[in-house]
Amino acid sequence: MDFSIASILALDGATNGAVYALLALATVLVFAVTRVIFIPQGEFVAFGALTLALFQTGKVPGTVWFLLVLAALGAVADVVDGLRHSQSAARIAKRVAGTAGYPLLISLVCIWAAPQNFSLLVQALLTLALVTPFGGLIYRLAYQSLADATVLVLLIVSVGVHFALTGLGLFFFGAEGFRNPSFWDARFSAGPLALSGQAVIIFLASLALIVALWLFFERSLYGKALRATAVNRLGARLMGISSDSAGKLTFTMAAFIGALSGLLIGPTTTVFYDSGFLIGLKGFVAAVFAGLSSYPQALLGALAVGMLESFGSFWASSFKEVIVFGSIVPVLLWRSLRDPHTEEH
């Protein structure tokens, strides 16, 4: 291998690493606030990429019907919950509107917009607007009533959610894979390095999101409320921070980040309904690298995973997954030696 190949591989690794970094941040965020190890994070990636691909063909994406089904279930859950606590009809109606109102609205917009052949950017924005509400609805349906369960139970729930979402993904999107057009076709070359416009967009978007997250957690009251919930759920609740809405907000952010990652990665690879699992798990390896707790370490871990993958596929292409996922074992060894007494129950 000479320097030019190495630099191409490094650039490739960094580009993928930037996307994994987003997913790793989402994983750390969700775990910190809700203690949920969110295996289905990658599903949002596939949903994002496939939704945009279907908008491109001028069809109404399956995500719309999927979202409507989830919203309907969420509304039913609200009504049942409201009746059980004998809430007034007005209050129940308000809760139902809160759960299902936005999903219904954005679905109608998407049904109208799909055949109009809007520009790629508009369709990308619609995709984000459509996939983001999945987060809150999934939290409402699968996790909310189990919020006080152990990490282990929540992890098994995550696995169940992953199963259901993958199967439903197949139902709503079909088995066909799609590759999205690039957002920016420009190419910049510097010596042997060829930087594509899409890579530039990936870097910029990742950077922007990281800065936005930092500002959110450091500067906004909502961000501080989430941090408080992460430190002590009961204490935060006593200060008037609803752990339900903290959970919903966190999952909404996770869905947004997932959908954005899907848009970013869509033009670089063919995405199928079940591609999200492996992509998400790579973000996950990075999050484990960070002990599921540190954002900067998650970032470093993600870049390392990206590099490992690109160099791994150069040396032993059929074993690149083995290399990436096998690397978690030495990482865990390192963590256990560094910090052997983190037992918690």
Partner: protein, 588 residues
């Protein structure tokens, strides 16, 4: 009829004569698959339900067993009876490595490591030239037994179900044994188990290894049942399915694994034909149902299906077979008046906060010493420093003339110091007797293998005799078959004392034994403690309740703000203006 005694043999006999009946081949094949699933799920019952750990990588262990069998018997012509041991050996090595790395950390690192392991092994198998890549290995020979080929569905059926039933028998035996009690204590955190002398790390590894071995055996049977192997049944999704089986059947119940395996296998087949017809295209749509059912089960029936079966069965009651059992070995007791515990200038700093500031005191054999002080005085911290639950910042503690500072709570327990907890720590689903028997852990030695084969009964009888004796000592013998979780707080605290006594301690440390007790219960407790003192036991108690302490102790150490305020007899302490000021404030 005694269901618990005859239920298992009856079920075993029924399952084993089934192939002799004119049952269609389809159902024999189904039952073979159910048996194979159940063997793997049994491991998860132990791991997830009993020990509170989990693994998504069991399918990968199945794969190790299956590929080892297929490769060695097809390519190298080695006898299947030998490849079984190779496959099991490989699984043990992998489980030991993964366990050693992750089990010292928080509980969720093991499942994460097993996800990675499951993916790694799947992609490795799928890309190995000599393992046939995605096509796998064809033409695996049947198992032969004394010239008899077990190639047919009915032939291998007997072997699969013998293995499944034997595994269920071993796991049932294990759960009702010395290592079994240790394993059942893992879910409740490590502090109590370690204080009873259980190496929690060791037993976590043991459970993980057992689960891996069961999976590997299932894989070996699978290879010779299917007569071909390819990577797809060993992927991460099948690993999740095994967990689903265990959770659905009733995680924590041995027979839940069988119920879960049966229900899942039959429903899976139905869904695989029904759903594509409904939807109009083919695909793995059954995972939608599995995913949703998994979430619903955890929400509405976290104990799975098995409890719905046991509801109609009479409760199991332990038969008293330890009447004439020999007593457990006892340690030499210190002579009354000997220096027992010497706490010398111990100090604990949490960052900048000095929680315990160079505290010293001594306990002589046969004394009851009280450690009192206002809230936040550092009593419990001192207590945890002595028992090794917290590491010392500085200072020396010696117990019976030997330094014990820096030892773990397990090592200190081995030297004859036993304790109770401020917040009762027990295993709620075990009976009072079994909880107390956990205290006998260090006085017995039966290992996991011995327990699985039920060769530990003589020692078990001795442990239960001792546990009953200690319960009788504190007047709780009539409650011994009650579930510990059903007791009121008072009896629970007494049970903790019996458990500590069961370790045959030279010094007993009680952390706020009277906290939260009603007046009558306090009197009963005081009577028990006086009786123990009368029998020569030495005690250190941390307490809040003044009346309780004053009437009971020989000497009292008073702490305030992490320092020792005064030490003396109850009368001296009561007369001390400094103590009065500490509790009530001073006049200005």
């Amino acid at each position: 009829m005694n269901w618990t005694r005859f239920g298992f043999p009856a079920f075993a006999a029924f399952m084993l004569v089934l192939p002799a009946l004119p049952l269609p081949d389809f159902w024999i094949t189904q039952l073979n698959s159910i048996g194979l699933y159940a063997i793997v799920s049994l491991g998860l019952v132990l791991l997830t339900g009993v020990a509170g750990l989990t693994s998504f990588g069991q399918a990968a262990f199945v794969g190790v067993g299956a590929y080892t069998a297929a490769f060695l018997s097809t390519k190298l012509g080695i006898s299947p009876w030998f490849t079984l041991f190779v496959g099991v050996g490989l699984s043990v090595v992998v489980a030991l490595v993964l366990g050693a790395i992750t089990l010292r950390m928080s509980g969720h690192y093991l499942p994460l490591a097993t996800i990675a392991w499951g993916l790694t092994i799947y992609y490795t198998i799928s890309n190995m030239e000599f393992l046939g890549k995605y096509d796998g290995i064809l033409g695996v020979p049947p198992i032969t037994l004394g010239g008899l080929s077990l190639g047919s569905g009915r032939g291998i059926y007997v072997l699969i179900w013998l293995a499944a039933l034997a595994a269920a028998w071993c796991v049932t035996n294990l759960l009702d044994s010395r290592p079994g009690r240790a394993i059942r204590s893992l879910k409740e955190g490590t502090t109590m188990a370690e204080a009873m002398g259980v190496s929690t790390f060791r037993y976590k590894v043991v459970v993980f290894v057992i689960a891996a071995v069961l999976a590997s055996i299932s894989g070996w049977l699978f290879a010779h049942f299917q007569r071909t192997v390819n990577p797809s049944p060993f992927g991460i999704h099948r690993g999740i399915e095994y967990l689903f089986i265990a959770v659905l059947g009733g995680v924590g119940h041995v027979w839940g694994a069988f119920v879960g395996a049966g229900v899942v296998k039959i429903i899976e087949d139905e869904l695989q034909t029904l759903l594509p017809k409904l939807i109009g295209t083919s695909g793995n749509f059954e995972i939608i149902v599995f995913g949703i059912v998994l979430v619903l089960v955890l929400k509405y029936a976290p104990n799975g299906l098995w409890p719905f079966v046991t509801r109609f069965l009479p409760a199991k009651r332990r038969v008293n077979d330890w009447k004439n059992a020999e007593a457990l070995p006892a340690r030499d007791k210190p002579v009354r008046g000997d220096l027992l515990l010497d706490v010398n200038a111990v100090r604990k700093e949490f960052g900048g906060l000095v929680a315990v500031n160079d505290v010293s005191f001594q306990i002589r054999a046969g004394d009851i010493v009280g450690l009192i002080g206002p809230n936040g005085a550092g009593k419990s911290t001192t207590f945890n420093l002595i028992t090794g639950v917290l590491p010392l910042t500085r200072g020396q503690v010696s117990f019976r003339g030997q330094p014990i500072a820096g030892l773990s709570s397990r090592q200190i327990a081995e030297r004859g110091m036993s304790r109770t907890f401020q917040h009762v720590k027990m295993i709620p689903e075990m009976t009072v007797l079994e909880n107390v028997a956990l205290g006998g852990h260090l006085r017995s030695s039966s290992g996991t293998l011995k327990a699985m084969l039920r060769l530990d009964r003589a020692e078990e009888r001795r442990i239960y005799a001792e546990a009953e004796k200690q319960l009788a000592r504190i007047g709780m013998v009539e409650l011994m078959h009650e579930q510990a979780g059903n007791l009121a707080l008072g009896p629970q605290r007494l049970m903790e004392i019996a458990r500590a006594l069961c370790t045959d301690p030279a010094l007993l440390l009680l952390d706020e034994p009277a906290a939260g007790l009603r007046h009558k219960e306090k009197q009963a407790l005081a009577d028990v403690l006086r009786q123990l003192k009368g029998e020569g036991m030495s005690l250190l108690l941390v307490e809040h309740d003044m009346d309780f302490v004053m009437g009971l102790t020989d000497r009292i150490v008073v702490m305030e703000f992490g320092t020792r305020l005064i030490e003396g007899t109850p009368e001296e302490v009561q007369a001390s203006p400094a103590v009065r000021a500490a509790y009530l404030g001073t006049e200005h």
